[in-house]
Amino acid sequence: MKNPFARYLLQKLVWYILAFFVAVSLNFILPRLIPGNPVAVIVNQMATGGVQSDTLERLYSTYMKEFGLDKPLYVQYFNYLRNILHLNLGTSFMLYPGKVKDLIGRALPWTIGLQVPAILSGWILGNLLGAFSAYKGGKFDSVAFTLSLVFSNIPYYCLAIVFLYLLAVRFGIFPVGGGYSFGTVPTLSWRFITDAIHHYILPYLSMVLVAIGGQAIGMREMSIYELTSDYVNYAKNLGIRDERIIRYVFKNAMLPQITGLAISFGTMMGGALVTESVFSYPGVGSLLFTAIRQSDYPLIQGCTLIITVAVLTANFLVEIAYGFIDPRIRAVQLGER
C-alpha cells in the first residue's frame, strides 16, 4: 500500500476488530459466570403466580430449550456470534418475548438525552472555567480550584445520593425519580416538557458538577503550563489584548481535553448505570442493572455490546481525529519522524 495514511488506518482497524472480538467474547462469558440459572428464576416466579409445582418441571425444560440454554456452551457461543453478525440481539429471558433490540431502543434516547447535554455542557463550562482561573489567578483561582477539586473527587453517584436525599426527599423540591410523572404520557405538550425537565434537573446536576470540576482542573493545569511559555510572554510584550492571548492559550491547551471528551462519549452508557439507578431514570443503565440482577443473558449482552461499540468507536475516532488536529501526531502516524 502506497499511501502511508491508509496503511496506518488499516493497521488500526485490524487492531480494533481484534479488540471488538475479544470484548464480544467477554460479553458472552461474563454473564454466564454469574451463579444461578435464569430459567429457574422464571419458573419460580410462575410458581408465585399460583402455577402448580408439577407443571414447573415441564416448563423448565421447555424454556431451557426455547432459550437455547440446553445446548453445549460452544454451540451457544457460535449462535451468539452469528446473531451479532446478523445484528440480531435476541430475545430477553425475563421480559420474554420482548426483543432486546426494542428494549434497548426504548431506553437509549433517555440515556443519550441525559448524558450528551451533561457531558457537553460540563466539558465546555469546565474548560472555560479552567482557562479563565488559570489566567486570572489570585482569589478567583483559589476558590474555583478548590471547588473543582472537591467536586471532581466526589464519586458522581455519591453526589447523586446526596442530592436525592437533600433536594428530593428532605425538601421535596424535585421528584425522587423517574423520567416523568406517571400520570402523564409522553407527548409534545408544554405540561409534559416541563414535567420531564423537572425530573431531569437532579440527575443532570449530579453529573455536570463532577464533569465541570474534572475538566476545569485539567484545563487549568494545561493553561498554566501554556501561560508560562515563550509565545505568551512574547505576545504580552507586543501588547496584544488579554482576550486574544487567552484564545491562543485555549487553543493549545485544548488538545488533551478533546481526547477526554471523546472518551466520555464512549463510556457514556456504562457511566450512566449508577446515576440512572439512583434516580430510577428509564435508560440503558437501569436496564443493564436489572438484567444483571436477573441473569438475563441476552439483555446483558445487548447492553454491553452497545457499550463496547461506543467505547471502541470513540477511541478509534480520537486516534484518527488527532492526526488532523495536531500536525506532530500526524507526522508520527505517517512514519515521518
Binding site: 428464576v41 410462575m46 399460583g50 408439577d54 406517571f182 407527548t187 428509564p282 440482577r293
Partner: protein
Amino acid sequence: MSKVKKFIVSLISLLLVTILVGSVSFAQAPLQLPRKETLYIAGMQWGPPTSFNPMAPAPAWPTNRGQHYLIYETLFVYNLLTGKLDPLIGESFNWSVYTLTVKLRKGAKWQDGTPLTAKDVVYTLELGKKYSLYFSSFWNFITDVKAKDDLTVVMTLNKDNPNKKRVEVFLGQIFIVPQHIWSKIDTSQKALLEYTNTEPVGSGPYKLLAYSPEQIVLQRDDNYWGIPYYGKPAPKYVVHPIFKSNDAGNLAFERGEVDFSQQFCPEIWKMWEVKKLPVGTWYKKEPYHIPASIPSLYINIHKKPLNNPLVRRALAYAINYPKIAETAMSRYSPAAKSSLIIPVGVPEKKYFSQEDVDKYGWKYDPQKAIEILEKQLKAKKGPDGIYVLPDGTRLGPFTAECPYGWTDWMTSLEVVAESARAVGIDIRTQYPDAPVWTDHRNTGNFDLLMNTPAGGYTPAHPWLRFFEVMEIKGVPPIGQVAYWNFNRYSNKKASSLLAGAAKITDEKKLYAIYRELDRIFMKDIPIIPLEYRPWHFYEYNETYWTGFPNEDNPLASPLHTAQGIKIFYIIKPKE
C-alpha cells in the same frame, strides 16, 4: 453574508427541534383520562410490558396468572371468604364419581362479538396437552375433555390419580382463549410463546387501550356479555402505572394518585391513625390483611446435626415468632403457630386444632429450648456460648439464606439468627441474589433456607401445602432440581394420608386426616413456620373511589385476582 448565516443557523435549529419532537412523540397520541372515571392500580406489574399473551412465561398485567381477570377470564373464580368457586364464564360445575360437568353461561361472547362456546374451552384446555404451558399438569389429573353441546363441557378424571381438589384449582386459573384467533397462532411451542398479542381479544369487561414502559391503560367494554349477570364495572378506565420501586408506588398511593394497591406498604395504619387519610385495609386492626400463606424455614434434615428432630425442636422453641410478626411483617401477621394450617381468616382455619398445637407443637420459649438441649440431647455449652453435642458436633455455624432485597424475609432471618444465638445455636445469615437462592433451594443444597410452601391460595389449600412439604413421590434426590419438598422429607404414613385426603370431600373425615398430618409434621419438623403472609396486600385509598369491601362490608374477596374482580363492580366514584 450575515443573512445567509442566519438562514443556516435557523435551518439547523429547525432540524434539531424536529429530531427532538420526533423522539419525544414516539409513544402515543395524547391521552388525558378523567380522574373521576379512572381507577389507578399498583403492585401487579414491575418491568416494561412486552406481551399480553397469557401462555407466555411473564405476560404483562392483567394477562398474567394471579392478576385481575379483566381481559381474559377463567371458568370460575375462587372466593377467599367462602372457600368456594363462584361463577364467571362457567355457571356451575358438578362432580359425579369420575366425571366433571361444567355448564357455561348463556350469551357469553368474545370482545369481537364471536360467541364463546364449549369448543373454545376444550380448545384452550387441549393447548396444555399439546404444549408445555402453565396449566399442562391439568392433564395429569384429567384424561379427556369433550364439548357435549355449546354450553356443556364434560371432563373425565384420571382414575389412577383422582384429585378433585387440584382439578378445581385449574377451573379458577386457566384463562380461556378464543379458538378462532389462537388456532392461527398455535403452530408450534415457540410460536405460541413468542406471540406478543398486543391487541388481545378476551371475554372480559375491559379492553387494552394503550401501553408503554410507564403504564398500562384499560378501557371498559360496554358490550361486555356479563352485564346481565354481573352488572357493569364502575371505572371506565383502569390504569396500572409501572413504578421503578416500591417506595415510589407507596408514595403515590399515600397521595391518592393510586387508588388500589398490592404493594407491601410498611406501617400502613399510620396513614389513617396519624395522617387521617381515607386509606383502608381488610381489617381495621392487626393483622390488617387475611393471612393466606406460611413463609417458613426449610431445614436440611439429612445433614448432621440437623437430621436429629430434637435439635430441630430446640431450634423451633428458640425462635422469637412474636418479634418476627412485629418487625419483619410490620404486624401484618399473627405470631406463627406450629402448624401447617393457618389458624385465622381463611376458610381452612376450621381444620386448625389449638389442642394439638399445645400438646405436640412448640412456641417461642427459649427456656424450653435450653432444656431440650441440655436434658434430652445432653449437649454442653462451649466457651463461645454455643452448644456441643456429646459426640462433639457443634450446633452451628448453620447458614440461613433468602434472596437479597426481600427485606421482610431478611429481617425474619435476622430475628431467627439472633434468637437462636441467644439460646446457644450458631446461625449466620446469607443473602445471595434470587437465581442463586433458587438454585440452592431446588437442589436441596442448604442448611436453613426461607421459602413459602404452596404460595398463593387455591381451592386445594391446605391440602396442597401439606403435599408440598411432606410428599416425596416425584421429588428427585438432593443435587437434582426439585419443585417442592426441597429438603426431601419422606414419610410413608403422610403420603398415604395425603392420597386419601385428595379423594375425600366429607368435612369430618378431612378434619381428622389434616389433624393427623399436622401431628406428624409437629413430630418430625421438616420446616418451621415463621410468619403468615396474605395472598395479596389489599390496600385502598378512598380519595376518588369509595365503597371498597372490608371486614365490615365483606362483599368481595380482598384480592387482586379471582373473585376480587367483583370489587370493580362494588366501588363508586366519590361525589
